[in-house]
Symmetry: C4
Subunit: 204 residues, 4 copies
C-alpha cells in the first residue's frame, strides 16, 4: 500500500496545475469597458462581441478536463516513478499551462480574416501535448512503472494513440495556414467527439 | 478503505478549482489609478466607488463557499466513480470557474441603469450550476455510486432540489430583464438565507 | 484513524486558498512599461519605484505564511468538524483572499501623503482576520471538535488571543487615520516579531 | 506510518505554490492588441515579438519544475518537522512566488540594450533560492528531521551544493551588470544542464 503512494505528490502537483490552468482561462475574458457603455443595448452588444472568447474558453475547458480525466485514468495504472516519467509529466504540464495563451488568441481573432496564426498555434499546442503523452507512456513502458503486467497492452495502446494524435494535430496546424475556419471547426468537433466518447466509455 | 480513495483525486482537483475561483475573485477589484488621486479624500472617494465590486465579490465568495460545502457533503455519500459522474462534476466546475466573469460585470454595472445583462447573466450561471447538481446526483443514482443504500433518499432529495433551483434561478434571470435591482437584491437574500441555513443545519 | 480524515478536504481547500493568495501577491507588481525606458539607468530607476510594492508584497507574504502555520498548528488539535467550524474557516479564508487588494493599495500609495486609507484598510483586514480566529476557536470549543481534552487550554488561549488581536488591529486601523506611516511601521514590526517568535517557539 | 504524515500539509501547501507559480507564468505573455493587427502578416509579426517572453517563460518553467522535483526528492528523506524547517520552506516558496516578476522583466527587455537589471534580478532570485535550500537542509540537520541516519550524507551534500549555488548565482548576478547577454545564455545553459542531469540521475 505504501507503494501506491509514490505518485501522490506528483498527482497533487499535476492536479494543481490542471485546476489552475482551467480556472485561469476565465481571466482572459475581459468585461466591456464602462466608458463605452451607455445603454442596456450597448452592454448586450458588447457581451455579444465576447461570444468568440467564450467559445474558445469552453473548447479549452473541455480539452483540459478531458486531458485531466485521461491523466487520472493513466496514473491509476502506474505505481512507481522515475525521473524520465516525472519530466515527461512536466512536458505534458507545460502544454496545459500554455493553453490559455492560444485560447485567448483564438477568442480575440477567430472572427477576423487574419486568424490563421491563432488556429495554427492552437493545434500546434495540441500536437505538442500529444508528444507529452508519448513521452509519459514511453517512460512507463521503458522504466516498468505499471502496477501489473496486465496494464501493458493499455499503456502501449495509449502510446500508439499519442503518435496518431501528434500526426493529426500537426496536420490540423499545417492545414490551418489556409483553411483556418474549417480547421477551427474540425478541432472543435474532434473534442466534442472525445467528450462524448469519454462520457460513455468506462475507464476501469 | 481503498474503495473510499477512488474519488481522492477528483476531490483534490475540484478543491483546487474551487479554491482558485474563490481567490481569483479578488483580482477583478482593481485599485484606483494613482494619476487621479491627489488627496486622502480622493482616495477615500475612489475606494467608495469600488463598494459595488466588493459587494459582488462577497456574494460570489459566499456562493462558491456554500457550493464547496455542498460538494464536500455530497461526495461524502459517494465511494465509487463513473465517467458520467466525473463529467457531471466537470459541468459543475465549469460554472464555478465562470463565476468571476458575471461577478465582475455586476460589480461594474450594478449602480448604472443598464445593469440588466449583468444580473441576467449572473442568475443564468446559477441556473446552469443547478443543472450541474442535477447531472451529478443523477449520475450517482444511475451508476449506483453511493456508499450505502441509506444515502439514496438524501441524494434523490438533492436531485429534486436541483430541479427547483434551476427553475428558480432561470425565473430570476428572466425577471432581471425588467426588475434588475429587485432581482439582484432577491438573489443576495436567497444566498444569505442559504448561508444561515448552512451554518445551522447539520450535514451528517 | 478514519476520524482524523474528517478535515482532510477542508485542509486541502484551505491550503489551496492560502497557496493561491500567496502567489497572486506577485501579479500586482507590474513590470515597468517599455515605452518609458530608454537606458539601463531608466530601468533601474523604474525598479526603484516599485520598492514600496515589494515591501508590501513581503509583509503580506509573511502574514499569509504565519497565518497558514497557525492554521496548520490549530487544525492538528482538531479531528471533528461542524457547519459553524467550516463557515468560521470561510470567514478566515475570506480575509486571506482579500489581502492582495490592500497590499496592492499600500504598495502604490505608502510613499504619498494620502496613504491613510491604504493603511486603515490593511489593518482593518487584519482585525477582521482575528475575528475569523475567534469564530474558529469558538466553534472548536462549542462543538467539542478537539482531539483530546488536553487541547482545550490551548484552544481557549488562542480564542483569547483572537480577541486581543482584533482589539489591537482595530486600534491600529483607527490610529492610521492620523499616523499612517507610524502605523505602517508598527504593523510591520509586529509581524516581524511574530515571525521571530514563530521560528523559535515549538508548535507541538 | 502516522509519523510520515507530519509533512503532508506542508507538501500540499508547497505543491500548491509551485503549481500556481508555474501556471501564472503564462499570464504575463499578453496577446497582441487587436487595434494594431490588420493582416495575417501583422499577427505573425506580433507573435514573433513575444518570442523572448516565451523563451523566458520556458526557462522559468524548467527552473520551477526542477526545483519542485528537488523539493519532492528532498522531502522524501524527511519525516519530522520543526518551525525553522517550515519557515525555511517559506523562504524557498518566497523565491518561487517571486520568479514570475523577473521572468516577465527578462522577456520584455532581453533584446534591448538596457536589459542588465532584468538579468541581474533574475540571477539574484536564483541566488536567494539557493539560500532557501541552505536553510532547509540546515534545519533538517540541526533539528534531526531525517527519516534515517543514512540520509545524513545526502542532506549534507545538498546543503553544500546550496552554498556553491548561492556563490555561483551571485557571481552571475554581478557579472550581468556588464555581460548581460552572455550571463543570460550561461544561466540558460546551466539549467538545461540541470534538466539533462535530472532526467538521467536516479532520485531514490
Amino acid at each position: 500500500m505504501s507503494e501506491t503512494n509514490v505518485n501522490t505528490r506528483l498527482e497533487a502537483f499535476c492536479d494543481g496545475v490542471f485546476a489552475i490552468a482551467l480556472t485561469l482561462l476565465i481571466i482572459d475574458i475581459k468585461i466591456p469597458a464602462t466608458a463605452e457603455i451607455h445603454t442596456t443595448e450597448d452592454l448586450w452588444g458588447a457581451l455579444r462581441h465576447i461570444i468568440p472568447s467564450i467559445f474558445a474558453f469552453l473548447l479549452s475547458f473541455i480539452i483540459i478536463l478531458i486531458t485531466w480525466v485521461n491523466h487520472h485514468a493513466g496514473l491509476k495504472l502506474v505505481n512507481k516513478s522515475s525521473p524520465s516519467f516525472i519530466y515527461a509529466n512536466g512536458v505534458m504540464l507545460l502544454t496545459v499551462v500554455f493553453i490559455p495563451f492560444p485560447t485567448s488568441l483564438v477568442g480575440e481573432y477567430i472572427l477576423t480574416d487574419h486568424a490563421a496564426p491563432a488556429v495554427v498555434l492552437y493545434n500546434s499546442i495540441l500536437a505538442f501535448q500529444s508528444v507529452g503523452w508519448i513521452l509519459m507512456t514511453g517512460a512507463c513502458l521503458k522504466d516498468r512503472l505499471y502496477k501489473s503486467e496486465t496494464s501493458i497492452p493499455t499503456i502501449r495502446e495509449n502510446n500508439k494513440y499519442g503518435y496518431y494524435a501528434t500526426a493529426i494535430y500537426s496536420l490540423f496546424a499545417i492545414l490551418a495556414f489556409w483553411f483556418l475556419l474549417t480547421m477551427a471547426i474540425i478541432t472543435t468537433i474532434t473534442w466534442i467527439f472525445w467528450l462524448v466518447v469519454g462520457i460513455n466509455i468506462t475507464h476501469e
